[in-house]
């Protein structure tokens, strides 16, 4: 199944031939079995040159195949296959000649036409019928007999693991595109066609060069049967211009009477017609059909990314995202505001004040159970609130300050700077997280403590809980005069 959106006819794409697909499949099997090869360079190449996923997989396979010498292996296999085919063609030619020679005999005695015809066409007919029959057998294991045998043979003969994978890859590839039976069929039809063609030619040559007499023999059947059979078989060749012996000639050809040379020529024409029409022609037609269907199926070859080995490739060859880099390197950490220092100018009042920093609206404010002497200055959030308090403290610095913050939030620079500013407005500044029903994570709490310390707060006055802060504030609160007012 192909999910590629773009058309495959891009200029830089490799020809999606059987060989490239075969190479990709061999590589896939290899990688599925023994793990991925190092392929950074090849992937880059494939991504630059290919457009669709299929193209990229094929390009990658080409590059890797070249590196690993797989293409040579496939080339040598193809070369061997060609030699084997050539030998088979030679054998088929020879077989055709021998068959016609054997069927006609040495000419010493008359040729019995029916056994001769059977010897020349019988086996071909059986094999052809078997091929046709194979369409009726379960469609999904089509044409696997021969390929099973071939695979078994290659497993036995294989030299090295790659040599075994390549034929398997081809079989799997052809099986997937359902072109296996057609391509193998084309080979077998082709060989038969060659054999039958050579048979026909040999027949023609022998019949031209030697004298034969034709006859039929029977013990059981009547001569009429032969007349009918001969006419029946001769009907189609006759349409194509091959001669058919007349009824009288057929009746006379019982081997007991001497026939005219004309009658013998008619018989030999009839025999030749039968071989060509019933032997050669169906094979040639079947060959053409097989080639046509096989090629069409091959053209549909696609890379199925669901197969093991290809599945991992998709994210690498067609990534959906890519990191693009940074604008400029990060500056050294400026996040910590300069520590505020307590200005000694104004005489601090003996106040102890309570300030909340950026607390959520939902938080209970002021927290319950505070000593009355702690003056509540409210929660600081907006610009105006901040400015108002800072101005007030500037005029009237205080001795003690308790800052409550929300430890669920991230300690950001804005909050820390505000706390640092506040720190400059009081002699002793305590900080504690606001008690909340859902406790802040310990890591966040630790973040706050370290950031507060970096902002200039005294380590001893950074408390883990409000209760701790109040405990450490208690002596100061006892000294301080009671103030009821809030600003």
């Amino acid at each position: 199944m192909s999910h590629d959106r773009a058309s495959p006819d891009s200029t830089s794409a490799p020809a999606a031939t059987l060989t490239t697909h075969w190479l990709a499949e061999t590589l896939r099997l290899r990688e599925a079995q023994w793990g991925h090869l190092e392929d950074a360079r090849e992937n880059m190449l494939a991504r630059v040159q290919g457009r669709t996923y299929t193209q990229k997989v094929l390009l990658r396979a080409q590059a890797l195949g070249r590196r690993e010498g797989l293409d040579d292996l496939l080339a040598s296999l193809q070369h061997n296959a060609r030699i084997a085919l050539f030998i088979l063609v030679a054998l088929a030619t020879l077989a055709g000649i021998l068959a016609s020679a054997a069927a006609l005999g040495d000419g010493a005695r008359s040729v019995n036409v029916w056994p001769a015809l059977l010897a020349m066409l019988g086996l071909n007919a059986v094999a052809f019928a078997l091929w046709l029959l194979s369409f009726c057998i379960r469609g999904d294991r089509q044409g696997t007999w021969l390929s099973d045998a071939w695979l078994w043979l290659t497993r036995k003969l294989a030299k090295g693991p790659d040599a075994m994978l390549a034929p398997r890859a081809l079989i799997e590839l052809l099986g997937r595109s359902a072109s296996q039976r057609w391509l193998l069929g084309a080979v077998s039809h082709g060989l038969w066609a060659v054999a039958l063609a050579s048979m026909s030619i040999a027949l023609l040559v022998i019949l031209s060069a030697k004298r034969y007499s034709f006859s039929w023999e029977t013990t059981l059947l009547s001569p009429d049967t032969f007349v009918r059979l001969t006419n029946l078989l001769g009907w189609l060749p006759a349409k194509l211009g091959f001669p058919v012996p007349s009824d009288t000639v057929i009746r006379a050809s019982d081997g007991l009477q001497t026939l005219s040379a004309q009658a013998q020529a008619t018989w030999s024409g009839w025999l030749l017609g039968c071989v060509i029409v019933y032997g050669l022609t169906p094979r040639v037609i079947a060959l053409a059909v097989s080639l046509y269907v096989g090629r069409r199926r091959l053209a549909r070859l696609a890379i199925d990314s669901a197969l093991p080995g290809f599945a991992e490739l998709r994210t690498r060859l067609t990534p959906t995202s890519e990191i693009a880099g940074v604008d400029k390197p990060a500056d050294p950490d400026r996040a910590v505001p300069h520590p505020g220092t307590h200005r000694g100018g104004a005489i601090p009042h003996d106040d102890a004040i309570l300030v909340g920093v950026e607390l959520p609206e939902s938080a209970a404010w002021p927290p319950p159970g505070l000593p009355g002497r702690l003056i509540n200055m409210g929660v600081l959030d907006s610009r105006a609130q901040r400015r108002a308090l800072l101005e007030r403290l500037h005029l009237r610095p205080v001795k003690h300050m308790l800052i409550l913050y929300d430890a669920n939030q991230t300690p950001d620079r804005g909050a820390l700077r505000l706390i640092a500013d506040l720190n400059g407005m009081a002699q002793q500044v305590h900080a504690a997280p606001l008690d909340q029903s859902d406790g802040a994570p310990a890591q966040r709490q630790a973040d706050w403590a370290s950031k507060l310390k970096a902002s200039g707060l005294d380590d001893a006055r950074i408390h883990a809980t409000l209760q701790d802060a109040l405990t450490s504030l208690r002596p100061a609160l006892q000294d301080a005069p009671a103030h009821g007012e809030t600003p």
Binding site: A95, A119, L151, G175, S321, D327, Q409, R417
Partner: protein, 467 residues
């Protein structure tokens, strides 16, 4: 380079530690992007990433440092403006960028604004667990001054402490009505699509581009699921077909059993690895796990009816192939040997097929060897676990840092209403697995591994059943 004009530039902005880098990780499906840590100021520079469709960049995303000092920043910008002047938003920002503090106290904020000025739009990431505060409003005011549409992205919406309603209200008051909820750790299945939909509402000019991107997201997801189901089916066939024979004494049986379990574990691991890779996750996301894989089938089911039928088919095939070969020989001998070669071929072919497929096992049977294969229960468990993992991967954001924990799948008994899982737990095992059990050559772990079209067909069928 004309394509470059069509690229949509998006700046991901927001307060510090709200998950801007996480959003980028999830959108790019890349867990390696940037640095993610629960603390302020983790990202300290602008980092870009491209979203590609067919290797063509469509969207350029920029991760920016967090805004941390919004209140003071707005204050400072206001101070820069002389009384009586009324510059527009971008002009105000430009004046700030030209000011000395943009290189010092507000250096991080300056980087953000610099980037947002050149982008087509901004995604404003909100950690909805935070309360709505003045600092957020102030920084939004500054960001809005850049003059580009802002789409608030509400992160951590599935957290119990989420204040989603409060945020929606506050953002609406600031004039931001197109809002998208997108949890970067566990995004909704159509979360990305919603995000781009909302973005398309804000940016009419890029509607088409976003449409292409959305289509690609849907296709890629379907492809991933398709590939993953295949991977799982392949593993199941591999394991179902695995058979090990052992001498009958208890010690050897024990050893073979252990070896079988070992093989099964390794095979499952390989499947996990492939799934993780396909979904762009790493072993960190799903660390090794010990499997309760007890359960083996003993004895040879060589003589059960199905196996015998199978043998019949094999012998028939062998005979037919042999007959063909013999017939060819007959042809070459010009019919002189008519029949004999065909007959001999059929006999040899049948014997060959029989010996090749069944000989070893028959010999083993005669010698009293035991064959061990995994039990149905193990196959069920494996299927359920992998499907569970697949579901977890499908829903996992690439920003998630806690490892995946599979639900109750491993337990087996507990409730789970997902139909395919129940079918795998209770129903009949698929025919493909029954067939795989009879074919040792289908197991990539067996020495006589010989896959063919039939195995591939079975994997495909099984993958379809995993739907």
């Amino acid at each position: 380079m004309s394509r470059n004009n069509a690229v949509l530039h998006l700046a991901v902005v927001g307060h510090t530690n709200t998950g801007k880098t996480s959003l980028l990780r999830t959108l790019t499906r890349n867990p390696e992007f940037g640095e993610v840590r629960d603390g302020p100021g983790t990202t300290r520079h602008v980092e870009g990433a491209q979203l590609l469709v067919d290797d063509i960049p469509l969207v350029q995303l920029y991760d920016t440092p967090g805004m941390e000092d919004g209140v003071a920043l707005l204050d400072y910008i206001d101070q820069l403006i002389q009384p009586g002047q009324r510059p527009d938003g971008p002009e105000r920002i430009q004046r700030f960028l030209d000011s000395p503090e943009s290189g010092r106290r507000f250096e991080q904020e300056a980087r953000v604004l610099n980037k947002l000025l050149t982008c087509d739009a901004g995604l404003y990431v909100v950690d909805v667990r935070d309360p709505v505060l003045s600092k957020h409003k102030d920084e939004l005011a500054v960001l809005a001054d850049c003059g580009h549409p802002l789409l608030p992205v509400l992160n951590f919406t599935s957290d119990p402490r989420a204040r989603t309603a409060a945020w929606r209200e506050a953002l609406a008051r600031l004039g931001l009505h197109a809002i998208v909820e997108f949890d970067t750790i566990a995004p909704a299945l159509d979360g990305e699509l919603q995000l781009y939909d909302k973005l398309a509402l804000l940016m009419d000019t890029h509607k088409e581009l976003l449409g292409v991107l959305k289509q690609d997201i849907v296709e890629q997801r379907a492809l991933r699921r398709h590939d993953a189901r295949h991977t799982i089916a392949d593993m199941l066939i591999d394991i179902a077909a695995l058979r090990m024979s052992s001498p009958p004494d208890p010690e050897s049986l024990e050893n073979t059993t252990q070896s079988l379990r070992q093989h099964v574990r390794q095979r499952e691991n390989r499947c996990v690895q492939t799934l993780l890779k396909r979904y762009n996750f790493t072993r960190k996301d799903f660390p090794n796990h010990a499997l309760p894989l007890e359960g083996e089938r003993w004895g040879m089911d060589l003589f059960n009816p199905q196996a015998l039928q199978d043998m019949g088919i094999h012998l028939g095939k062998g005979m037919a192939a042999g007959a063909m070969a013999g017939a060819t020989l007959d042809a070459f001998t010009a019919g002189i040997s008519l029949g004999t070669a065909t007959l001999v071929g059929a006999a040899v072919g049948g014997l060959w097929q029989g010996a090749d497929k069944w000989g070893k096992r028959l010999m083993g049977r005669i010698k009293g060897e035991q064959e061990i294969s995994v039990d149905d229960a193990v196959l069920r468990l494996l299927a359920v676990r992998q499907l569970d993992l697949l579901q977890a991967l499908d829903r996992r954001g690439h920003a998630a840092q806690a490892p995946i924990t599979l639900g109750d799948a491993a337990g087996g008994e507990t409730n789970d209403d997902a139909a395919p899982l129940t079918r795998w737990r209770k129903g009949k095992l698929p025919d493909e697995l029954a067939e795989a059990r009879r074919r040792t050559s289908w197991s990539s772990m067996s020495p006589d591994y010989a896959p063919g079209a039939r195995r591939e067909h079975a994997v495909r069928e099984l993958a379809a059943r995993l739907e």
